[in-house]
């Protein structure tokens, strides 16, 4: 094999690719925040809700955790228009990823809810706190520390998962890498540079999340 690496043809596209990485980060961040909200209410419903609510949330979680995310977004993007709901590429990907994240984050936060000691909850109840107050003042401070590591892992996974947005016409990092590849035919260079950008983006996120977790919640995070 004799292949001459020529990064010079590709490095000119670095700002273009970095712009794509920014969109990837945006989608991951928004979907994660949305997913956290869904997950919080999902976990509350599963822990404190009645039987019907429990089943409803259980059905949602089971559905989204046991079907591929690609299929979910495909459904939202290409099947919903036949029912009269036409979403743009960005909206479809964001909604798909948010709903998917919501299911995983429901399960992660439910585990956190259950790790709160029963006595603490009863003590709060005795003090006359409402459900929302108990969640706000007792559960959240507790699970923030316990759940920080699995939550940041989920966030990293979601950042990498944004690559499938390219299939639906969102010009994020992977989509832009395909474009540059079609332009230059320098596949090894283009995709190694793209992989490098993903590593930079996720390592930076890991570091920031780690620092945030250490100082805010005294969570024991591994820093790189």
């Amino acid at each position: 094999m004799s292949y001459t690496l020529q990064f010079g043809q590709v490095t000119g596209y670095l700002p273009y690719l970095a712009g794509g990485a920014w969109i990837s980060l945006q989608i991951a961040f928004l979907a994660f925040c949305g997913g956290m909200v869904i997950g919080l209410f999902g976990a509350m419903a599963k822990t404190f809700g009645g039987r019907a609510l429990n089943h409803l949330v259980g059905g949602y979680v089971t559905f989204f955790m046991n079907t591929p995310q690609l299929v979910q977004i495909y459904f939202i993007y290409f099947a919903l228009p036949d029912a009269g709901i036409l979403l743009t590429s960005y909206e479809a990907v964001l909604i798909g990823m948010t709903l998917n994240a919501g299911a995983y984050l429901t399960e992660i936060q439910r585990a956190g809810f259950e790790s709160v000691h029963r006595n603490e909850m009863e003590a709060a109840e005795t003090l006359g706190m409402t459900l929302m107050q108990r969640v706000r003042y007792v559960v959240l401070p507790h699970i923030a520390r316990v759940l920080f590591p699995p939550l940041s892992n989920q966030y990293i996974l979601m950042t990498l998962g944004t690559s499938m947005a390219a299939i639906f016409g969102v010009e994020e990092l992977t989509g832009r890498a395909f474009n540059v590849n079609a332009e230059t035919f320098r596949s090894i260079e283009v995709f190694s540079l793209t992989a490098g950008l993903y590593i930079v983006v996720t390592l930076a996120a890991t570091l920031l999340l780690g620092l945030f977790g250490r100082f805010m919640f005294r969570a024991k995070m591994r820093l790189y």
């Binding site: 228009p81 036409l86 590429s89 390219a166 639906f168 016409g169 010009e171 395909f178 474009n179 079609a182």
Partner: protein, 269 residues
Amino acid sequence: MLGSILRHLAGAAIAIALLAPVGGEARTLDEILSSKKLVVGVNPTLPPLGKYNDKNEIVGFDVDVSQRIAEMLGVELEIVKVGSPDRIPFVASGKIDYVMGAMTRNPQRAKIIDFSVPVHTEVFGVLTTEGKPYKHWKELNDSSVKLVQVRGTTPVKFIEKNLPKAEVLLLDNYPDVIRALAQGRGDAMVDVVDFVGEHMNKYDVKWKVVETPVNVYFCTLGVAKGNDSLRNWLNVALFELHREGFIDETWKKWFGIDMLFSVSASPYF
């Protein structure tokens, strides 16, 4: 001294032998008739011109046309799989009698091989839906226009250069692009329109091909340079196939739509 000259001559002979095309001469019409076999190159990666069926045989428009041509000659048909880079060397070296596979005629290729009269056309143009006002592809160079294209294909570069103002949505494959147009996600697609016919037919949408295309390519049978005995006969055969409507029917059978820019039979060729 003599030995040294001989060695040099031998070396030169080997060099010439290596440079000469392998496989030798193209077969004349007489040789094809006496061998009772017509050998045709078809590209199976260009459906529906050529593709593999579930028995792993090559079928398609090109095969049907060649089958008919072999019947007219009264010989057996043998299909040889060719790809885009090797198809011209195959015909130039006589491995196949003629080649198909969207064999567009152009002056560069005509220096190396000869072309028959056109078999079919390919329209590189604009596919849109009825009700859109476009009459000429250049009208698409407008910021209000949204084109839907397949990521990584050559028309994307064409658009960047010639229709820079249009917005472009890049999707993964042709079925997705046609679905997106049918669902109203964009206004038009710029590409070779003939090949998406089977996808277009899946939607209850009134399609329209913009009157002035970017280009029309004439696809022919490619024969070896100077093989006039075969080429002259093929031209007469193709005239008959056009006149009796066989080409148009076969096109409709495989592409699901009429040939967008029909090749009419001309008694002068």
